[in-house]
Symmetry: C2
Amino acid sequence: MAIMRDIAELHEPEALARLVSYRIRLVQIAAYKTFEARVSGHGSAPRYYGMLKLIEANPGVPQARLAEAIFLDRSSLVPILQELEREGWLERRAAPQDKRVRRVFLTPEGAGWLVALERDVEEHEARLTAGLSAEDLDTLHGLLLRLDDNLRDVQAGRV
Amino acid sequence: MAIMRDIAELHEPEALARLVSYRIRLVQIAAYKTFEARVSGHGSAPRYYGMLKLIEANPGVPQARLAEAIFLDRSSLVPILQELEREGWLERRAAPQDKRVRRVFLTPEGAGWLVALERDVEEHEARLTAGLSAEDLDTLHGLLLRLDDNLRDVQAGRV
DNA sequence: TATTGTTATACTCTATAACTATA
DNA sequence: TATAGTTATAGAGTATAACAATA
């Protein structure tokens, strides 16, 4: 191939273009940056939207279970929860049955703020998936879940 | 909802489960960790596989164009290129036409190592997409490209 | 004036190891 | 012995601001 002149767009080789792992990585990076650029005024919560929804759906989850669910080390979760607690999103309560455990709950305020944050998330999702029919979305979800299953097999050492 | 007991798996609320952005993020994080755990002995190159393939397909690309292509600031790319150059993967040559520019090329050794690395990438890709037919893959690529297009519209301010 | 590459610097995110208290 | 939460610490990875050289 000739040495490139200073063209605007780089050529994307077919060896990259046909990799699902490559395309997913690029889409995820771009989607995350677009989302972070979009939301503001919610403190540090937007990037933890998924975790906050998990807490909402699993009130009283122990920190260690939460860390596992989002693929973080227990110790990495501590400062995140401390900040969100300081901002009033959540609270932690000692578990009387097992004094080692601190159970995590959304505060009523946090639950309310989450509704507003959810609107931003839904708008971002709508931008991301614009033009896709309900059937397209079902297909996409189904295929992504199959990738997810495959990865769990790898992580569990089943492959 | 009742306060959770210490169950193994957290409940994933429907509001999360139907978000393409959420599922893609989880798949990407898991796929990246699986890949990094898989490859070793290639120095720091595996995480820059995509960039190295771009350099291979666009020999002599200026650093600034490369940074744009992978959504990095020019300054963030500098230490990455310095390390890969030190490891022998690539070289940078001053551009006679424009003395500000340094053009990036794979070394012959780097091109050879990339073949070996590519085998690991392909194996990882095969694990990730196991069970998907050629038609499934076409469908998935098509849908991901439509997400990619939507994000470019957002970034370009067209939406 | 604008662009390219670079450096200095700081910030975010994460993991590891070690600790305590509990089980 | 094992687990839950915490702290101290270090290492990636990134961006911003400022700079010199060049266009």
